[in-house]
Symmetry: D2
Subunit: 174 residues, 4 copies
């Protein structure tokens, strides 16, 4: 029902809803593969470049802890310590959720930009295409008009030729 | 830092981060104006149509409670009751956040659909435009060819006419 | 199952596990009767004398809130605000529980003192009583010894008297 | 400020406020020494005899976790899982606190019983002592009375003896 957190490596973004995940004290989360790849190279957060050299800076967490784990994880601690841990874990979740939301909004705005870019291209395309069509139609019309004139000319010439032919016949008969 | 909840009336979606907001036991939240408009008409949730006739079904909450309110809101209650209330309030928030995320994804998919629709239209447009241009260019070419023929015809006729005119002159001179 | 909080008026100490109770921002709790009696006189905490003149400084809380109240009490608030309220309510409970425990320990130490006082009194009593009995027994023994001597004296006198009586009879007979 | 939990081994009851402690899924807590002694023998709770053979049934917890541990302990988990763990840990604490309170009340009632037992013994002691003193005083009084009579008897006998002595002297002189 809740949102899934996602591996903070932008090229990965695997949904983290089962098995284990790697969390850092700088509030980032990674899938096990990305964490292994990254932390084998250096103890530096691949998301924010914080140095992670202390104990508990990098922790592999079971995302679906057993009932026994849930019962004993914080047992024995004082209420204020329990609430402190609980508040920090919730802040981690809301931070990730907020980042995810920002990421979604960034994707949306990216798509909006791409869409309006495409709309502009469409308008240019339509304008260019209409301009070409208009030019071609004008050319066609001009050609048709010229053709008309030319055909009239041909027609006139044929008539003149016929007339001359008639006159010539008359003269040759005599 | 945290995400803002938004009025669940889709036509409103006002960010709820200050002043008061109206929350319901069916896990919806509305800005004061939308709540007043809606609940004056009927005690029915405008988001999910749940009947809200019990006490505490509809509550107006101060989104930035005072320090004194924070200190005394749940004081005197047993730890299990405190945790119950706290868990329900967090579930409310995660439900709203999840719904908001779904809404964002819906908007994104809507925009994706619109984008690919536009892309298709662009292709149709390009195809149609190219087809029209091709047709027009063919017409221009055909017309230019016809014109060529017609001009040759005119030219031939003019020559024939000139020849006949020559023959006629010779005959008339005699 | 949990401990009951108790009215902080030492003369009352009513268990607060049903109905309503009055809580203050200075972390004290009172039964409704004690609160009404006290706060009608002055807006000052009867436990610690803090001035309680602000809104929400004195709140009457339902100790067994309804399901609807539990669902809507903190809904709409941000996770950090929810956790803040929750932590303060738990601190209130642990403060009261700790105070109650101190009170119990104070009562226990009071009873321990009273017990060792009584033990001392018992020893004094036993010593005094033994000393008196010893004195009296010594007196009895002394008296019995004196009596013995006196009785021997009586016996001796009786014998002397008898002897004298015999001598006298002899002389009078002659 | 909060109450210290105590080792649940009644013979130990060490306050658990620093270092490590051992917690079980059956809601008991032990100091490290008692835990080691007990769980080396059998995986059975020494407080309630529950079998503790599953993973996470017996956990050694750091009672003053580091800031890094607090930050990463539950990070990555969903809000409902976080709240579940947090609620269980608080239940553990309130259960232990309630048990501790019951233990304190039991101790208090034990001392009350011992006190009233001692009070009864004192009364018996006073009664017995008074009865003995009364008896002894009566005996002294009776002895003093007898002594008086005996002394009078001696006195009378002395007088009789003196008288007889007088009579005897008179007769012997003649």
């Amino acid at each position: 029902m809740d949102l899934d957190l996602r591996c903070n490596i932008v090229q990965c973004r695997k949904a983290l809803n089962e098995g284990r995940a790697c969390v850092t004290t700088c509030s980032h989360i990674f899938c096990v593969d990305c964490a292994n790849t990254s932390f084998t190279l250096a103890l530096v957060c691949p998301a924010c470049e914080t140095s992670l050299t202390e104990n508990d800076d990098i922790v592999f967490a079971d995302l679906n802890p057993s009932e026994d784990y849930k019962s004993s994880a914080l047992s024995g601690l004082r209420p204020d310590t329990i609430m402190e841990i609980c508040s920090r874990a919730l802040s981690f979740w809301t931070y990730q959720t907020t980042q995810e939301n920002c990421f979604q909004e960034m994707l949306y705005r990216g798509l909006e930009d791409k869409y309006s870019e495409l709309e502009k291209q469409v308008q240019v395309l339509i304008r260019d295409s209409e301009s070409e069509v208009t030019t071609l139609r004008a050319k066609v019309q001009a050609l048709q008009k010229d053709m008309e004139l030319e055909k009239r000319k041909t027609h006139d010439l044929k008539e003149q030729l016929q007339e001359k032919g008639g006159q010539l016949s008359k003269l040759q008969v005599r």
